[in-house]
Subunit: 242 residues, 2 copies
DNA sequence: CAGGTGTAGCTAACAGTGTTAGCCGATTCT
DNA sequence: AGAATCGGCTAACACTGTTAGCTACACCTG
C-alpha cells in the first residue's frame, strides 16, 4: 500500500491542462522497491523479458523471491514501474526533439528521436508496448504526455496518430528484424518523414486550424502552446494487483 | 518429420521468382496434426493467446496433453502453423485488394484490407506479429509474398516498407486500444493513405523507375509485373523445435 | 529496562506452464 | 502367428507467479 510517502512535488496538479514540458510524476515507491525495479531494469535490458523473473530478481538483490512481495504487490508492479520509466524517457526525448528541432525539422527530428530511444532500449521499449500488459493505469497522463510531440510536430490529430503508428510500426519491425537484411531503413524512415511532412503541410493548409496549430502556424518552434485535448494515446496498463 | 506427403503441387518451384498470385504452400501435416492446429486456432481466436495451452488443447480433442507430442514436436509447431495460416490469409486478402482495386485506389484498398483482416482476427494477428515467436522458419517465402502487395501498390520499396510499418502500427495500436476512445480512426487511416499515396506518386515521379514500376507506371492496375527482389519482410519464426 | 509492534527476511507449498520417459493396448504389416 | 508401429495413458521434472506462516531484528513506548 504505502499510499504516497513523498508528496508529488506540487506539479501541475490534475489531468486538466497538459503542460508540454513537465511529465506527470509517477507515485513514489519505497527505497527498497526502487532498488527492486532498478534491478529489474538491469535484468530486462541486459537479458530480455524472459530473464525478468521473480526468482532472478530476488537473486539479483540477494533475497528470496517471496520476499519481494513485502515491497511490491507482484510482478505486474515491477513491469508497470518500468513502463512508466520508459514512457517518461521517451516523452522527454521527444519533447526535446520538438522544442529544439534539428536541421531536418520537427517531424524528422521527432521520428529520429523516437527511433534512437527504441533502438537504445529495445527490451524496455518492447515491454512498454507489449499488449499482454493490462491496459489502464500507468501514471495517469504520462502516455498522453509522451505522445504529445507527435501532435506538436504535425499540428493535426489525424496526421499525428498516423505518424505515431508509423513510428511504432517501424521500430517494432526493426527490433524484431522483420525487414530484409539488405534494407536501407534510414531511407525508409526518411520516406515516412517526407510523407508525413507533406501530409502535415496539406492538413494545415486545407483546414483553417486545429486548436494548437492556430496559435503557432509554423513548424512549431518557440514556446509550446497549451493543449486541451487528449491526443495520441490512452492510458495503458493498470489491472488487478490482486 | 513427414517431409512432404503432398507434393507442393508444382507451383513456381523455388524461391527465385515470386509469382504474385500463388502463395507458397506450407509443408503438409498429418491429419491428426491438422485437427490439433485447427483446435488451436479455435481456442486462440475464441479466448486469446492465454488459452492456447497444451492441456487445453488436449482437452479440446479429448486427449491428454502429452499425447499431442505424438503428432507435433511442441507448442511452437502449433503457433507456427497458425502464423502460416494467418500470413497466407492476409496475403490473399491483400493480393485481392491490389488486383481488384476499389474506388479508393490501390493504396487505400490495400490498407483497408489489411485493417479488415486484423480486426476480424485480432488474436491470430497478434500471434503472427508477436516478437516472442522465434524468427526464421515459417513457410519460406510466405511472409515475403504476404507483404508483396505493399510494393505492388506503391511501386517503391521505401514507401512500401513505410506504408507497411504504418499499417502494422495502426492495427496493433487499435487492437490494444492505445488510441483515445473518441478517436476517429477511420480518418486517421485515410490520413495515412493520403500521405503514402502522394509519397508513392512523388517517388514514381522523381526516380526514373524502380524495377517493377518501370513496367507499369500507373497506379498499378492490369496484370501484375514479376518481381525479383525480396521486399518487405524477412522470414520469421523457426527455431529449435528441440 | 521490559514489552509490544512492525519490518523484512525465510521455507514450504500450491496451481499452473511446457515437456520427457516409460508403459500398454490395438492395429497393421510381414 | 509374430513383429512393429501408432496413439493413447500416467508420472514426473523444471520452471513460473504467488500465498501462508514462521522468525529474527529494530524501534518506540510505558
Amino acid at each position: 500500500m504505502t499510499q504516497s510517502v513523498l508528496s508529488p512535488g506540487a506539479g501541475p496538479s490534475s489531468s486538466a491542462g497538459l503542460s508540454s514540458s513537465a511529465p506527470p510524476r509517477p507515485r513514489a515507491l519505497s527505497p527498497r522497491a526502487t532498488e527492486i525495479i532498478s534491478a529489474g531494469r538491469r535484468l530486462l535490458e541486459a537479458e530480455g523479458a524472459g530473464a525478468l523473473t521473480m526468482r532472478r530478481l530476488g537473486a539479483e538483490l540477494g533475497i528470496q523471491a517471496p520476499s519481494l512481495y513485502k515491497h511490491l504487490p507482484g510482478k505486474h508492479a515491477v513491469e508497470l514501474a518500468l513502463v512508466d520509466e520508459a514512457l517518461a524517457e521517451i516523452g522527454q526525448a521527444l519533447h526535446q526533439a520538438v522544442c529544439h528541432p534539428g536541421p531536418a525539422g520537427g517531424i524528422a527530428g521527432t521520428l529520429a528521436a523516437y527511433r534512437e530511444y527504441a533502438l537504445a532500449h529495445p527490451n524496455l521499449y518492447r515491454l512498454a508496448t507489449s499488449s499482454r500488459l493490462p491496459r489502464g493505469s500507468t501514471t495517469p497522463g504520462l502516455e498522453e504526455w509522451s505522445g504529445e510531440p507527435f501532435f506538436l510536430a504535425t499540428g493535426d490529430p489525424q496526421v499525428a496518430q498516423a505518424m505515431f503508428a508509423f513510428a511504432h510500426g517501424m521500430v517494432i519491425l526493426e527490433l524484431d528484424q522483420r525487414f530484409p537484411g539488405n534494407s536501407d531503413l534510414q531511407r525508409t524512415w526518411e520516406a515516412g518523414a517526407d510523407a508525413f511532412t507533406s501530409a502535415s503541410a496539406s492538413a494545415r493548409g486545407s483546414r483553417p486550424a486545429t486548436r494548437a496549430a492556430a496559435h503557432s502556424p509554423g513548424p512549431a518552434p518557440g514556446p509550446m502552446p497549451e493543449l486541451e485535448t487528449p491526443l495520441i494515446l490512452e492510458t495503458p496498463l493498470i489491472l488487478e494487483t490482486r
